[in-house]
């Protein structure tokens, strides 16, 4: 455990440049939006837009972080892989460092967004805001982690390929196998018995949003909102299905790095 | 450092000779302590195993004696030391005369030459 913590400390030091870069990038985007918005008198709209962009980008933070952290290890595989620690430990250490950095950047953004919303918009109840924020945090983290584990799997395939051919060809093969895998997985989840197994635990919009505070509601609008709120936006079953897949890919990546990747 | 040793003889034998010479010269005295295996290895830039072997060989020749937990010591037996001295002299003379004979010098020429050389040197 101590070995793993020390390794993670090294990972944090290794990944620090990416963290700082992203932090500056986010601050820059919001500052720019504020500045342009101020000039044009569209502050709220532009900051909203900037926050949207930042949050969307943050979905990919972990992926980009790992791209950087794993590639910097590629030059010194002899060092990284020459350890009694299992590959699971090595990869989880990178993942943990990435998640920590992701949180350190996410928390200020989330707080800022929350304050911005409660200062400027008041059509949502406090409960709804917390639900929305909670759900989107959960959504961002789980998608980011799934993406990260998927990336690790294909990175290990890329590494294996790159021992036999140049990087460009390896990338093409990796990308093709990614597309093929995506297609097969899509076919798989649409098999009727898989659907039967996984289409459960629907969470719909009105579980999240506990009531609009519209002062004057027109009947037509009310109906529209009602229909929207009945739509399921999320199945717990799907979430579990995808999580299992991501975990399998993680162990697949570990196996490939342990048995197939050479220094 | 490679030039310290010549290639025709095992290094452990060459180190043994070096130690014998030190004993003859009096740099190492009877009953005196030899450097530890590691120290000697560092000094002459060889593997500690080699020095270990040198010390072992010297021990079988009764030139040194290893005392458990204390190190290796030059023998206190002055007769042994005297005989090494004698042996070394013989060996060098043997090599010298062998080469001289090979080139066809006679006994008398060698004796005469040696005496002349030594006398000139001694002046």
């Amino acid at each position: 455990m101590n070995a793993w913590l020390a390794l993670t400390k090294k990972e944090l030091r290794l990944g620090l440049p990416i963290f700082i870069f992203v932090l500056i990038l986010y601050a820059g985007v919001i500052a720019l939006a504020y500045y342009i918005g101020y000039r044009l008198g569209l502050e709220e709209e532009l900051i909203m837009g900037a926050l949207g962009v930042v949050l969307l980008f943050h979905l990919f933070f972990l992926f980009l972080y790992l791209l950087y952290a794993l590639n910097s290890e590629r030059k010194r595989l002899h060092l990284w892989l020459h350890t009694p620690m299992p590959v699971t430990g090595l990869l989880l250490s990178k993942l943990a460092a990435g998640i920590l950095f992701m949180s350190l950047t996410f928390i200020p953004i989330a707080i800022f967004t929350n304050n911005f919303f409660s200062d400027h918009y008041n059509f949502l109840t406090e409960q709804s805001t917390i639900n929305l924020l909670g759900l989107s945090t959960f959504g961002i983290y789980t998608s980011a982690i799934r993406m990260a584990l998927t990336f690790m799997f294909f990175w290990s395939i890329f590494l294996t390929c790159s021992q036999r051919m140049n990087d460009f060809l390896s990338f093409l093969i990796t990308f093709a196998s990614f597309l093929l895998f995506g297609y097969l997985y899509d076919q798989f989840v649409h098999l009727s018995f898989i659907q039967m197994l996984t289409d459960w635990g629907a969470i719909s919009a009105n579980d999240v949003i506990t009531g609009f505070e519209f002062k004057f509601t027109m009947t037509e609008d009310y109906f529209e909102a009602g229909t929207m709120m009945d739509t399921s936006i999320f199945y717990i079953g799907h979430f579990i299905r995808d999580s299992i897949m991501a975990i399998l890919m993680f162990f697949g990546a570990c196996w490939i790095i342990d048995k197939k990747v050479e220094v | 450092m490679a030039e310290l040793f010549h290639s025709s003889k095992p290094i452990y034998e060459q180190i043994a000779e070096m130690i014998k010479k030190r004993i003859i010269r009096g740099e190492l005295t009877a009953g005196g302590k030899l450097p530890s295996v590691r120290e000697m290895a560092i000094e002459v830039n060889v593997n500690p195993n080699t020095v270990q072997r040198t010390y072992r060989e010297l021990e079988t020749m009764d030139i040194v004696e290893s005392k458990r937990g204390q190190g290796t010591f030059v023998t206190e037996d002055t007769e042994v030391i005297a005989s090494i001295r004698e042996e070394m002299k013989k060996e060098i003379l043997m090599n010298f005369t062998k080469q001289m004979f090979e080139m066809g010098y006679t006994k008398e020429e060698i004796k005469q030459g040696l005496t002349e050389y030594l006398n000139r040197k001694g002046e």
Partner: protein, 229 residues
């Protein structure tokens, strides 16, 4: 201690090692010599479990080699790649945290011996000093097997000499087997117990260095000139 049985390693169509049998014993300093591309590094990486044989079997202490063998094998790569943001001290501490057998006191002792400054960052060290750091990290481990791939390559004579001195001073030949690859044979000529020559993926000779001198009146350099012609 180390045993290769009929080991072949292929990279695509290129054969790096061809049906190699090799047995090496504990307590020896062994040189693996040969030209560039003869299969020296491949042999070391195979023993370190960092690459896998195409066929054949490798064991260390009777244990079949895989990547986990890192717990009983210390491997020094010929590559000059470390975590450049670490100081010498950080690097030593990091290695100490990763390997249970790492002797941190010995590491500092070797560091002092090599005249390395603990607070200096790796990226600010000269190539020679990075070479010295690698020796510190490798010799501070109490492993039965130490593998050093070209520890002298690209270093000036002063550094090479200090590395040889470091090796002699800190190697634990009662418990360790040291396998060194090099093409700078002169540097280590006098410190080897055994020499193994490799050519085009074949072992073409394996001798005790004393025997070579005693029976054939050959130094390693002479012997190599003879067999490589």
């Amino acid at each position: 201690m180390i045993k290769l049985t009929n080991v072949t390693k292929k990279y695509g169509s290129r054969t790096a090692l061809n049906q190699v049998d090799l047995e090496l014993d504990q307590g020896k300093l062994i040189g693996l010599v040969g030209e560039n591309g003869s299969g020296k590094s491949t042999t070391l990486k195979l023993i370190a479990g960092l690459i896998h044989p195409t066929s054949g079997e490798i064991t260390v202490n009777g244990e079949k080699v895989n990547r986990q063998i890192a717990s009983s094998v210390a491997y020094l790569s010929e590559l000059d790649e470390y975590y450049r943001f670490f100081t010498v001290k950080d690097t030593i501490e990091f290695h100490a945290s990763q390997f249970g057998d790492f002797d941190i006191e010995k590491a500092y002792e070797i560091m002092d011996f090599m005249k390395l400054e603990p607070e200096k960052k790796l990226k600010h060290l000269s190539k020679g000093n990075r070479g010295r750091v690698k020796i510190v990290l490798t010799l501070a481990r109490h492993t039965p097997v130490v593998l050093m791939d070209e520890p002298f390559s690209g270093l000036d004579p002063m550094v090479r000499n200090s590395i040889v001195k470091g090796l002699i001073s800190f190697v634990d030949l009662e418990k360790q087997l040291i396998l060194i690859t090099t093409h700078e044979i002169r540097e280590i000529e006098n410190i080897l117990d055994e020499v193994v020559a490799i050519k085009d993926g074949h072992i073409i000779g394996h001798h005790n260095v004393d025997d070579l001198r005693k029976e054939n009146q050959l130094s390693i350099v002479d012997w190599m000139n003879e067999i490589y012609g």
